[in-house]
Every structure is written in structure tokens, then in C-alpha cells.
Amino acid sequence: MDELQELYRQVILDHNRNPRNFGELPDATRVVAGVNPLCGDKMTLYVKLGEGKIQDIRFQGTGCAISVASSSLMTERVKGASVDAALELFDKVHELLTAAHDHEPAPDLDKLAALGGVREYPSRVKCASLGWHALKSAVADEGKSNVTTE
């Protein structure tokens, strides 16, 4: 597979075309606006927290395929997960996006391993990480309401 196919795998293209958990979440307990100043991409992440868990999660906004697919895959994966598990996942994804390219993705990443294609495209790492930074901020104690990739 060449680098471009590695970046635009079917799972990425599919989640870009049909993003999961897309839209507002009226009963969200945390709302975080994420901005990628480099490209002007904007996303809003809605999280409903309760009993140490992500009860529900949605996002909306505009962005490139990598950014939309990454947020979509993320919401699919962390919906119903504990806050601790979500934070642990953040670290694994962060490592996946930034590690050297012979690095083996953590085996439990499953579909999220598809995001690893951005490693060959340093300028696109921020696209893939925007939603994840918003998630971290939403579930962390301080619950900041704005994040940027800068």
C-alpha cells in the first residue's frame, strides 16, 4: 500500500462520508470548541458525563476527511467508556499519530489504527488529533471549553 492509500483507507473515507454521532447533544454536560488555526477547521464536541462514564457523545463542525473521520471513529469508540479508559485511549492514539513509522500500533486500537497513516504527513497530524484534544479537555477535571491544535 502506498502512503496515500495508507492515509485514505476505506474506513477513513467511510467515516468522512457518513460521520457517526454527528450533530448536537442537547443534554451535554461538557461542550468543547476545537479549532485548528492552521486551516480554520472548527469542531464542537458534546459530551454527557455521568457516573465516571461517557454516557453520550456527539460532534459537529467542518474539517478535512482526516479530521472528520478521526472524530467520528473516536465518538464511536468512547461512547459508554469510562473517563479513565478514554484518557488512556487518548495517550495510545497520541502515540500512534506521532510515533516513528516502524512503531506497531497498540493491538487494542482496532479501527483507530487506521489513523496511523498520518505519520507520513506531519502537516496532517493536527487534523487527526483535533477531536482527541477536545475529548481530553472535555473529560479532564478542568473541563476547558476551548482547545486548539497549536
Binding site: E3, L4, L7, Y8, L13, R17, L38, C39, G40, D41, K42, T62, G63, C64, A65, I66, S67, V68, Y121, R124, C127
Partner: protein
Amino acid sequence: MMATAQRHVPQLKRDFAALRKDFPALQQLVHGKPLAYLDNAASSQSPVAVLDAMAEQQRRNHSNVHRGVHQLSERSTAAFEGAREKVRRFINASSVAEVVFTRGTTESINLVAASFGQGLKSGDEVLITALEHHSNIVPWQLLCERSGARLVVAPILDDGSLDLAAFDALLGARTKIVAVAHVSNALGTVNPVADLIDKAHRVGAVVLVDGAQAVPHTRVDVQALDCDFYAFSGHKMFGPTGTGVLYGKRALLEAMPPYQGGGDMILTVSFERSTYNALPYKFEAGTPNITGVVGLGAAVDYLEGIDFASVAAHEHALLERASQRVLREVEGARLIGTAPNKASVLSFVVDGIHAHDLGTIVDSEGVAIRTGHHCAMPVMERFGVAATARASFAFYNNDDDVDRLIVGLLKAVEIFRG
């Protein structure tokens, strides 16, 4: 008299295929494919003449300017001031006193906002347009915050051209500064600057023209335009980054307070009071970018050898070819900016494919374009898009570059739509 009549006038160059060979960066492969460099509005490549002039300056002449009595400093000063005279002639300023070297267009505009802007007060207005680059918006916003003046924005029409009726209506006795792009970096719109300057002068406003996108494509004559300030960058006209020019009318520059303090801009310094150097040095505090300016001078020499009428025709043909092919062959493509008078910029979006994805995919074909908001977020907002893909042309581009862009875009469509 006979000698004058028979004087050899060098033929201006218009063989663009031959000129392309002067640019080493264009001779490389990217991802195994010949580079098609279509990001000239962001930064243009340099010809060998510029690279050699800078290498020579660094290798043999490196020293400080204006204060050494030794040979190297004499050479550096001559090269640096020689570049100033080249720039003066290039834009037809009446004196080298009116040519201030800066780091780039952005610094040139900030200089005017900070220095000339000290004369503004509450109730005054600064009039800009809705198609400005951030660097011709934010310095004026900062000035307005400091002074209490008001920032007024003339809108643009759906095709990306300036709404002239609205501009006329917004221009008035309160208008102290009009700051306007000669050519829009995001849309390619060419503004009727001579006309705008004339109108502004009738209400007593001074006019700053952001010429960053104009200078590489058209001959600018600051006296014919009668602009008060004209700002441009070296790296968009085939020179190095970190160089720029502020042209200002002498009387205005004379009356303006210094911008930054330091060496070179002073005559005498004591702890009670300093006196300032003559123009243009009053505005050039600190050791300048000597090697960069020498490169800029070489870029001016290079451009002086080219027939600009042919450049305009060549670039217009490329723009037409690219616009038509993108619209005809790339399903879902839409042009952003369709003003009747456009220069060298093709900004577009494709349904269902974000500009960044287009950029990455065409890059895999060796095609360099810019994607994003082009430092013109209000323009993106005006057209209801988050980002556009932008191909921008220079005289060294050719039909093959355009064809390669289309190949890259079709590849993106294939990946995204299967």
C-alpha cells in the same frame, strides 16, 4: 547623437520555457514526479541569479553596512544601497529616500499603522475592504484599539470584486487612511487602485496599497498611481524571505515619527534626547537583512529583463486554461472569486472533498498548491467556505503544470468518490 540612435537596447525576454530553466527548484522531482509549483502567491522560487548574488554577498562581502571604512563594509554598503536604487527604479519612486527596507509586506503595513497612525484620534476612520489579507486588517484593528478610530470595511460582491458603490458611500471626511490590496491573495481580484486612490485623495485620506500579490505580475509605477504608501515582499517576487519594501511619499515619511529605535536610525544619541537620521534610514533601525536585500536587488534585475506585457498574457492564459479545465473536468468544482479583472490566482472548492485532502492528494502527484483560509478568514466567511484550494501562477509555469493539477484533482475525486 548618432551613438544614441544606435545604442543597443536589450531585448526583453518572453521565452518562458527558457526562463523556467533559470530556477533550480523547479528542476526537481517530488514524490518521484516533476514538480509543478503552483503556490506562487504564498512564495515564489528564486532564479540562479538571485541565489548567486546572495551566495557572493555571504562568501566575499559579509560585513555590516553604513559604518565600516574597510573594504568589505564598503562593498556591502554599495551592494545594499545599489539594491535600493534598483527598487526605486523598478517602482518609479522619485527618490531612494522613499524606499524603506523592511522584513516584508506585513512589517511595511505595521510600520505605517504604528507611525503614521499616531496622528489618528477618536472619530477618525480607517477604510479597508472585505478582501484583505490578515496583514492588512489586524494592524489597523490594533491602531483603532489604541486611537479610538473606527475600522470601516467596504464589502465585496458575489464575484469577489470590490463593491465600488459601497466603497464610495463609506469614504468620507472622517476617513483618514484607506488600506487596500492591489491584488487579492485569496481571490485574485485586481482592485482598481488608481481610481480608489483618486477618490480617497478627494476626501483628504492617505492610501496604503498592499502590493504583495501585484508586484510579481505587473509593472507598478507608484508615481502614476499616486499612492501614498505601497508595501510589498521580496519573496513573492522571486527574491528571498525576510525582505520587503515600504514605499512612502517623502513628505509623509518626513513628518512621521520613527517606528523602531536603535542603530542606523539615529544621528545623535544622548540620554536627554536623540535625533533621527535622514530618510529612509529613520525607519531602518538595527542591522538590516543585507544579504536578503542584495538578493532582492538581483530579483529586480531579473524582472527588469522580462517583458511584463508577455508575462500578463502568459499568466492569463494559464489561469483561463486552469479555470476552464477545473470547472469542466472536476465534478463538483466551484470557483471562489470570479471577478472580471483577475490575476494569477485560482481559488476553488470541490463538493465533498475538503481542500486539505485535495492538497495532500495533488502533492502525491508532485503538484504544490495552497489549501486553507489563505490568511483571509473574512473572505472565507463571505463565501461560506471553511477553506479553499488555491493554485497560483508565475511566469515560469506552463500548460503541463496545469495538466498535472487536473490529473491530481481527478485522483482526489477517484479516491473520494470511488
